[in-house]
Structure formats: C-alpha cells, structure tokens
Symmetry: C2
Subunit: 236 residues, 2 copies
C-alpha cells in the first residue's frame, strides 16, 4: 500500500511510534515531515472542508485513499496489515490495551515539562513542572515501569504481548529510549529494579531493520523541543 506519514517536522514525537512500525514492517512510506511542504499539507488535511475524516492532531497516516489518525489506532491498522499484531481477537485487544497504557504514560511524561499548557514555553511553567516532576518520578513512573516489567515477565518469552514481536514491543523500546534521555538518573535507579525492560529494549534495538533505521539519517535525535525532554532539574 502507498503510505504517507504526516507529522511535525524536526522531532520524533508521537510520529516515532508509527515510524518504528513502518520500519520494522520493511514497507515503503513517504515521511512527509521530511518533504518541503509536508507540514503545510498536513495542516491543510486537518482543516480542509473537503476532507471527510480529518484528524484532530498529527500523526496521521494516509493509506491508499484512507486517512487514519491517533497513534494507537494507526498502529492497530499497521499491526494487522504487516503481521505486527496477533491474528486472534483476544491477542489483538491485549496488544492494543498495552499500547493505550503506553499512550497514557507518554502523555504524562510530556505533561511533566508542560503541566499548565502546551501553548506556553517550559520556562513559563517551570515551578509547576518541578512539582509535577516529583510525583512523576516517585509515583507514576515506577508504577508504569513496574507494570510493564511485570507483564513482560508474565509473558515468559522475548516479547511483551505473546510469542511474536508486536507494535507494543516497538513502542516500549521507544519509551525506554525516551525516558533514558529525559530522566537518566531516575531511569538508572528504576531499571535496576525492572530488569525485564532493558532486555526487551535491547531485543528490539537488535532487530535488523530497527538497527538499520536507528543508525540511518531517518532517525532524528532526541532534543528539548520534543516529547521527551532532558531538563536535569526535573530528573531529581
């Protein structure tokens, strides 16, 4: 199928979860964020009166004639098309449940540096961010990582949602990467406790197509204009 991925230029963001699935699938896609007018076209597709099913926000994927929005929804679609999700309904629902729990964690990780508004700079909400960061590091992050670590242990194999790799493994890899960038001190401490996550992370990183992607110029670096941000003062 002919894929076009629409997302903000210059960052990994939520688009990265989709990129990892497209890369692991080994399918061709046009990353519109890397084209000259990609962002303009993206905004046009969100606002045009002629688009029947506009997305509220990127990322969204054009797949043939369809536009599919919401990260977890796109992954559900790609999972089925490219064997990155179980075939049976119960396995598919479980994989999606894990993905939606990861979406919640990603939202919370973002709101650590933007607790008041996404329309203000970090510097304009720093006192609030310092407060929120304490709760994130000491309550929420250990709870989420403990959960995924436990689920990975229960799975009893290499992958979190069953016998085969799924998009949930790819997303958990990206989350571990992002959290290590944003909260290196907290993660060092927590990963000692939740060792199953590092194993999963490494297995994903070593998938041939993922390994090739990560060293290509298609993979953007983490920066402080992105979803995961490293402000040492928020890392405790």
């Amino acid at each position: 199928m002919n894929y076009r991925l629409y997302y903000w230029a210059g960052i990994q963001g939520r688009g990265e979860f989709v990129r990892l699935a497209l890369e692991e699938a080994g399918t061709k896609y046009m990353d519109m964020a890397r084209t000259e007018n990609g962002e303009d076209e993206m905004i046009q597709l969100m606002q045009s009166a002629e688009v029947a099913r506009p997305s509220f926000a990127p990322p969204f994927l054009q797949a043939g004639a369809a536009l599919i929005g919401q990260t977890a929804n796109i992954l559900q679609f790609l999972g089925r098309e490219h064997g990155l999700a179980p075939q049976g309904e119960s396995g598919r629902l479980w994989t999606h449940q894990l993905q939606l729990t990861m979406s919640d964690l990603v939202d919370e990780a973002h709101d650590v540096h933007h607790p008041i508004s996404g329309n203000l700079y970090y510097e304009e909400q720093k006192p609030e961010a310092l407060k929120r960061a304490v709760h994130f590091r000491e309550e929420r992050l250990p709870k989420y990582l403990g959960y995924f670590d436990r689920v990975q242990d229960k799975a009893g194999g290499k992958w979190i949602a069953g016998r085969k790799l799924t998009y949930a493994d790819l997303s958990l890899f990206q989350i571990v990467e992002g959290l290590r960038f944003a909260f290196p001190r907290a993660m060092k401490r927590l990963e000692r406790k939740f060792a199953a996550l590092a194993g999963l992370h490494d297995r994903v990183a070593n998938r041939p197509r993922i390994a090739a992607y990560l060293t290509s110029n298609r993979r953007l670096p983490f920066t402080n204009a992105d979803l995961f941000r490293h402000y040492p003062e928020l890392d405790g």
Copy 2:
C-alpha cells in the same frame, strides 16, 4: 456473554463510557462497583500473580474468560459484539479514532483540577489548577468542541461516525454532560457556537434504553469526587 464491569465505586468516571455502551446494547452485566466486594476483587485482578493479562487501571471488563482493559479498547470490543460500531474496517478505525480523541479531551478535563498529581487533593494544587483552567477554557476546549462539531456537521446525519449510532456518539453525549456540569458558564458560551453537539447530545439522551438508564438508580450523579468537577473558580 457474561459481563462484569470493574471500576471504582461511587463515581461515573471512565467507567461511565462503558456503562453507556452496555446499557444501549441492552445486554446484561454485573456492575461490580455496586457489589460489596467489587473494589477488592478489582484490585486483586490488577495485582494477582495468577492473572495473565492484568490491567494497569480500571475500568476493565470481564467478558467470559477474558479481561479487557482501557476504556476505548473495551468500547471497540463492545462495538463489534453489539453493533455499536460500523462493520467495515475503515468505519471501525474512524470510530475508534474519534473515541481516542475524546479520551484525550477527558484526560485534559481531568488534569484541569489535578495539574500536578492525582495523588494530591484539588485544594493542594489550586493555584496551578487556576492557571491550567484558563488555557483549557480558552484554547483546548474550544478546539476540541469545534473539532467534534465540525465532524458531526460533515457526517451530515444524526450520528457522528456514519449512518448508525456508535459508541462514539454515546461517549460524546457523556462528555457534553460532564462538561456542562463542570464548566456551565464556558459551555453556555461555547455551545452557542457549536450547535451540532447539543443536537447529538439530545438524540442520544432520547434513545429509549439510554433514557431509561439516565432516570434509573444505576446512573450515579456527577460529583466533585469524580472526573468532571464543578469548581466555579475554574469556570471563569
């Protein structure tokens, strides 16, 4: 199928989106929050080493032998089982995309009164809540409501995701209800602009099974211990 809904006792919360789907489906279910040991059993199912697929948080639904978590994921399952979602893949993905966008709005509506931590009382984060409320009322809420209003207009009929009622209509009804409770002044102003939403709300409220549910004692009232809260100072 034999359904048990697990959720916190005494509130509508995210469980209410699932209840509305179960009620519209006219299917039998046990609302475990209304049973004596429902909450204990729920916590047990999240923590027990014997549960293969535990949920990170409620609500979750026991459907026969399966446990299904994450509100939007449960709705996706119920939508297919009970004709509350389109049958074709493209319609199902679109319905789910709308639902996930509503989940984002619900998270943001919650974080208005809890911008720092869910583990603190509102009174402990009131200055931050006052700040976040301004951005929510003036930027985020108009953006979300404008989006759903526009999508409903585009749909060109009674329901937001196509020719038939879906779980997305039920959820949008609940969101309008909750927002009217929490932000009556802001909503009065915004609903003048986004008139398609009130129409959809009323059509859902008048579905015979929903109307019967809303006047039954199974429907809990909105309160300030819930997801949607009415603090006049946050309503501008």
